[in-house]
């Protein structure tokens, strides 16, 4: 025979090349797939509402009734944690309105039994990240910059990935997210006429104090690891 002593026939060469190319292709596909999956709503939970003990609608309460964010999230201006309303807060109204609605049964049960309602956390950062609501709110970062248009959400869901890259994009260039302190709790972005009136109100006035950095705060400080990790 011609290829006497050879174990592999000639076409194995092609197979070898093909498998090398296949491996590279497969590796590339895997990497792409991983990148797609990590950014997919399956993992980031963007736009995927979580099931809650009571289907609380921000659309109704914020968009419809016009209740201020701080009515429920009381500590957003003074604490790292914005605060989740106690059952007592719900009952201020719901002892009078919709007081027999079956949907609100868990709230009434909780109020009577003293056993708290366990909500599913929508915006959850990893435990090695220390986010501070008060710092953002007091500097004029509006709620909607991170939480989106809650006045349009029947059930709350994440609007952003909460990836570190997303945080850093803003920490590198905070100008885009900073607005007037008065408009922090406005659920919808201000329209042109509102912006004009704010500009007029502040025309000639010194720069707003909350926008001024104390001398001890440098721009780089915002991207230091220690700004968020400890």
């Amino acid at each position: 025979m011609k290829n006497d002593g050879q174990i592999f026939p000639r076409w194995c060469n092609t197979l070898a090349w093909a498998s090398i190319a296949g491996l590279i292709l497969m590796g590339g596909t895997m990497i792409c797939l991983l990148a797609v999956v990590t950014r997919s709503p399956y993992l980031t939970r963007v736009d995927i509402p979580l099931e809650q003990p009571v289907p609380f609608s921000h659309e109704h309460h914020v968009g419809g009734m016009g209740i201020d964010c701080r009515y429920c999230h009381t500590t957003s201006e003074i604490s790292p944690f914005a605060g989740v309303p106690s059952v007592e807060t719900c009952m201020t109204c719901h002892s009078q309105v919709w007081k027999d609605a079956p949907m609100l049964q868990p709230i009434r049960d909780s109020f009577l039994s003293g056993k708290p309602v366990a909500w599913n956390r929508v915006h959850d950062l990893p435990d090695f990240v220390y986010f501070d609501h008060s710092a953002h709110v007091n500097k004029g970062v509006a709620c909607r910059e991170c939480h989106g248009r809650v006045d349009r959400m029947p059930l709350i869901s994440r609007q952003e990935t909460l990836f570190m890259g997303w945080c850093l994009a803003c920490h590198r260039h905070p100008e885009g997210a900073l607005g007037p302190r008065e408009a922090v709790f406005t659920p919808r972005p201000p329209d042109q006429s509102e912006i004009r009136s704010w500009l007029q109100a502040h025309a000639g006035a010194p720069a707003r104090p909350e926008m001024e950095r104390p001398p001890s705060v440098t721009a780089q400080r915002l991207t230091d690891c220690s700004a968020c990790h400890r």
């Binding site: 500590t75 003074i78 059952v87 599913n120 710092a135 690891c225 400890r230």
Partner: protein, 966 residues
């Protein structure tokens, strides 16, 4: 370990450079073991698999872990629950801690605390600046109390004959017995309590004795000498202090105050004080001394008489040569001097010292002798009670907050006696040795769970307020006392409050009470001390009963587990003992010369035979010990302490007798030839003989104030290959004053509590894997017999040119713009290059998963503002970055800069001597900036051009010029 010859060691001392500092005798002898240990960054087997592992098994494990690692990164973030309050408490802001004043009680005496509470969960204890026994500082026991609260081994239920029972079942049994006691006034009833100063509890005790007038009361506090008369020194008013075996800076209910006031008189200058210490065992006070004289206890007892003879001008050839200059110094400072007597000195010596203070005109100026006793007095002795229990004349006994089966002297067969008693009740935090021998055991409440009161060392009324609902089914001592008065149901709040309502008898009681609870102290509750009655007349000189040849035994409380009550506290067990740096065990300490004379070696196991009783103990050769004595610490060898504390060390109570509770002459030591392997951090992280602790005499300091900066050369800032870093805003720095530091180690344990630092255990410490972020190095200097002892706390230096940062392959440790050397845990892959490259050896690596993820109560203790680190991650001091960020957010929300003193790291906050100062070095007016311009300021290993942000202030001794050559 190689045995050392004393003569060899002594030869090494003059051969070395001017000031030779050494950490251990091994280092002084420069043994091969020591050299090998310091040349390795990580100890043997730190980076190798400890068991034999075949190649095949290794591949299986690697494959499995690779697959597991891959899988974990694919998992979805689990959904967490948000559980708001049903009714939001007033004043509570979620995410921000609240602080409540309370008191921590040890031996009956209160030290004021402020407890940090996160949403109802106490996590950290700080000192109460408004409390006279704390002044804002804490000691190691106060810091560790928070771990004790959450200890899962605490007793959780009422036990009857060892089986779970209920409080109601106990009340039913009590009711039956009570009727019998009431008939004969409690003739067969006895109470044994720990030290009690609580006014409300004492009131209850009085009422119980009214109901049962014949009942016996025994106070059993094994680590205190209850017979010592009270002494209130004003250390800051004394220019010259002589301590005769008194560890006043580090022991006793007033130690925090003493340490603070002493440090204030320690500033080098014209008002700097001078401290002489005569002691048998090196103590922290001895380490602060300008002159320290080791002496056996029987010689110390004779010393007051010799001093008084010297004062009268008599010449005494038997007196030590240093005594005349010392007495001259005391007389020169008459009225401005202070002599303190050790707690364990006999009454005659105590009285003699008081007379000396009177003769010097010190009484009323630097020291007062209050007459009013603060602790509850007993009626009988424990010995008497035990014999009555054995004979059957006592058939009911209550044991409150004490553990006499373990702590009673060995010649009292207390366990046996207790088993003969038909109705025995133990009330304590743990189901310990005594609980096991009792019919009933009632779980006590932790001080952070109940209402109460107690007195501070100076008599200040302190309030104990609970921070958390009882975790287990504990019963307050007040409720138990009320049950004995047939008052139930009762609760501790009503009892304590109504007691004070009766005492204060004020129309405005409510506001007074609320103020007292808020402050933790009752304002103005210390009456000005009346003029003390004269001391007893001087007794005629008696022949010293202890005189004689042979070895003396000294029995002393342990610096960290006390009398054994803190045996189950991992933080205290793992805190290195101040002088030996031993952890998790005790040792028999002996002087090098005595060990050599007896042919004994360091770490050898010996039999200690004293008055016919014997125990086996490992020997620790301790430089600076008095010759001819052996010291053992109490508190170890427990059998029922809990999962952490049982079976550690040896039990020194077995050598203790009722007539010699603190030991005495007549000890015999027999070698066994067996060697012991200690768990000690003494030689870990050694910086190999460089000039680390810098010190001078006051005269030398006056001549060359900048002496500390003249060691070696400090390179210019630009002598580096790396681009310079600018710090426009804040620049954090720390200054540690070695002149104030007593070496008490509270910084280490405060840091552990604040920063979620795990306990690693004895075995891991032996491998050099302890996790403390700030360690206290202890150095000896001078001769082996009479060394000076120096302490140096070493946290991360936060170098501006940090060697660790440049070697990290994943940028997990890097600089921030305020000069912090930050550690990003989630980036760290555990190469440990940073630790290898750190010249200060301050980085700690999680070799294993040290954090207890499973015990629910321990999770409650953790600081929510500090990441809990997992296996494979490097960690180190962060300058308490969570506190920096907290202050920063507050300041920025108020549009201002951070004020000086607004950020206090945990170590600085706990320090009784105010030795640690933190602040912004870019602000020339900050305290830390001023200290950095002090001539004594120097950087550790500054010659490496690391530009450390943590700097030290050199130590200054103030020796008596007349004693130069003695």
């Amino acid at each position: 370990m190689t045995p050392h010859s004393l003569t060899d060691l002594q030869k090494r001392i003059p051969a070395a450079r001017g000031a030779l500092l050494w950490k251990s005798l091994d280092q002084l002898a420069n043994t091969p073991e020591f050299r090998e240990a310091i040349e390795r960054e990580f100890p043997v087997a730190a980076d190798e698999w400890p068991d034999a592992l075949s190649r095949r098994r290794f591949l299986i494990l690697m494959g499995a872990s690779l697959a597991a690692a891959g899988l974990t990164s694919c998992s979805r973030q689990p959904i967490e629950k948000l559980v708001p309050y049903v009714k939001q408490p007033e004043d509570l802001v979620p995410g921000k801690p609240l602080h409540f004043a309370s008191s921590n009680v040890l031996g009956g005496f209160a030290r004021g605390v402020l407890v940090e509470s996160h949403e109802g969960r106490p996590t950290k204890i700080e000192g109460n600046p408004g409390h006279p026994a704390s002044l804002g500082a804490t000691d190691v026991f106060m810091q560790a109390a928070i771990l004790q609260l959450y200890d899962p081994d605490r007793s959780q239920t009422v036990l009857h004959r060892g089986f779970a029972s209920t409080w109601d079942a106990f009340l039913a049994a009590l009711l039956q017995e009570e009727n019998e006691w009431a008939r004969d006034g409690g003739t067969r009833l006895a109470f044994v309590t720990g030290g009690v100063t609580s006014p409300s509890l004492r009131y209850h005790f009085r009422r119980i004795s009214e109901r049962f007038p014949n009942a016996r009361w025994i106070v059993h506090e094994p680590a205190c000498n209850l017979e010592t008369p009270r002494v209130l020194p004003s250390v800051d008013r004394a220019g010259v202090v002589l301590s005769l075996d008194a560890d006043f800076l580090a022991w006793g209910p007033g130690m925090l105050t003493n340490a603070r006031t002493f440090a204030r008189r320690r500033e080098p200058g014209n008002t700097m004080n001078r401290l002489y210490v005569v002691e048998s065992v090196p103590s922290l006070t001895g380490a602060m001394a300008d002159h320290r004289f080791p002496m056996t206890p029987s010689d110390i007892v004779r010393l007051p008489e010799q001093i008084s003879a010297e004062m009268r001008g008599a010449t005494n050839p038997a007196a030590p040569p240093w005594l005349p200059p010392l007495v001259r110094d005391l007389r020169k400072h008459a009225g401005d001097s202070l002599i303190l007597a050790g707690e364990f000195l006999p009454d005659s010596a105590q009285n003699e010292i008081r007379l000396l203070n009177e003769e010097l005109g010190n009484v009323g100026r630097t020291v007062t002798y209050p007459t009013e006793a603060l602790t509850f007095p007993g009626t009988h002795a424990l010995t008497e009670l035990a014999s009555q229990m054995l004979s059957g004349s006592i058939n009911a006994v209550f044991l409150l907050d004490c553990n006499p089966v373990y702590t009673a002297p060995a010649d009292i067969p207390f366990a046996e006696a207790l088993r003969k008693v038909s109705f025995s009740v133990h009330h304590g935090l743990y189901a310990d040795e005594t609980a096991e021998a009792c019919r009933w055991h009632l779980p006590d409440l932790h001080a952070l769970e109940n209402w109460g009161d107690a007195l501070a060392f100076d008599g200040t009324i302190s309030i104990i307020q609970p921070l958390i609902e009882p975790l287990y089914n504990g019963i307050s001592p007040h409720v138990l006392a009320a049950a004995l008065l047939k008052q139930w149901p009762a609760n501790d709040y009503d009892i304590v409050r109504s007691y004070w309502r009766g005492i204060l008898a004020n129309d405005d009681f409510e506001s007074l009470w609320r103020q007292a609870v808020h402050d933790g102290v009752m304002a103005g509750s210390v009456s000005t001390p009346a003029a003390p009655p004269p001391a007893a007349p001087r007794a005629p000189p008696s022949p010293n009963p202890n005189a004689g040849s042979g070895l003396e035994l000294l029995i002393r409380p342990d610096p960290h587990v006390y009398d054994g009550r803190f045996a189950n506290n991992g933080w205290l067990q793992e805190l290195p003992k101040p002088m030996t740096k031993i952890v998790w065990e005790n040792a028999a300490h002996i002087a090098p010369a005595t060990a050599e004379r007896l042919g004994l070696h360091h770490a050898e196991e010996v039999d200690l035979i004293y008055r016919g009783r014997s125990i086996r103990a490992p020997l620790w050769v301790l430089p600076g010990m008095a010759e001819n004595c052996v010291e053992v610490a109490l508190g170890y060898g427990r059998t029922r302490a809990g999962k952490v504390g049982s079976g550690l060390g040896f039990n020194s109570y077995q050598l203790r007798t009722a007539d010699a509770p603190w030991g005495g002459p007549g000890l015999e030591v027999r070698a066994t030839g067996r060697m012991h392997r200690f768990a000690t951090t003494q030689e870990h992280n050694t910086m190999a003989g460089r000039d680390l602790v810098r010190f001078a005499d006051l005269t030398m300091y006056r001549e060359t104030p900048h002496f500390a900066q003249q060691h070696g050369h400090t390179p210019a800032p630009d002598q580096t290959l790396y681009p310079p870093f600018t710090y426009d805003g804040n620049a954090w720095g720390m200054a540690i004053d070695l002149n104030a530091c007593t070496g008490c180690s509270v910084c280490t344990i405060a840091c552990q509590a604040e920063n979620n630092i795990p306990v690693v255990g004895r075995d891991q410490v032996q491998r050099g894997r302890e996790m403390h972020w700030i360690r206290v190095d202890r150095y000896f200097r001078g001769t082996v017999e009479r060394p000076d002892i120096l302490h140096q706390p070493v946290p991360c230096m936060h170098c501006e040119n940090a060697p660790c940062e440049t070697v990290c392959p994943v940028a997990a440790t890097l600089h921030d713009h305020e000069g912090l050397n930050v550690m990003v845990y989630n980036r760290c892959i555990g190469t440990r290059y940073c630790s290898n490259n750190c010249p200060y050896k301050v980085r700690r690596f999680n070799f294993l998963s040290y954090v207890d993820h499973s015990t629910p109560t321990l999770k409650l203790q953790r600081n929510p503002n500090v990441t809990v680190r997992s296996r494979g991650v490097m960690e180190k001091c962060t300058y308490c970055i969570q506190r920096i960020n907290f202050a920063r957010m507050n300041a920025r929300n108020q549009n201002r800069s951070i004020r000086d003193g607004e950020i206090i790291p945990a170590c600085a906050q706990a320090c009784p001597a105010e030795a640690i100062v933190f602040g912004n070095i870019n602000d020339p007016d900050s305290r830390v900036s001023k200290l950095r311009t002090d001539p004594r300021n120097y950087g550790l290993l500054a010659e490496l051009n690391t530009r450390p942000r943590t700097t030290y202030l050199a130590k200054i001794f103030n020796p008596n010029p007349e004693l130069k050559n003695v």
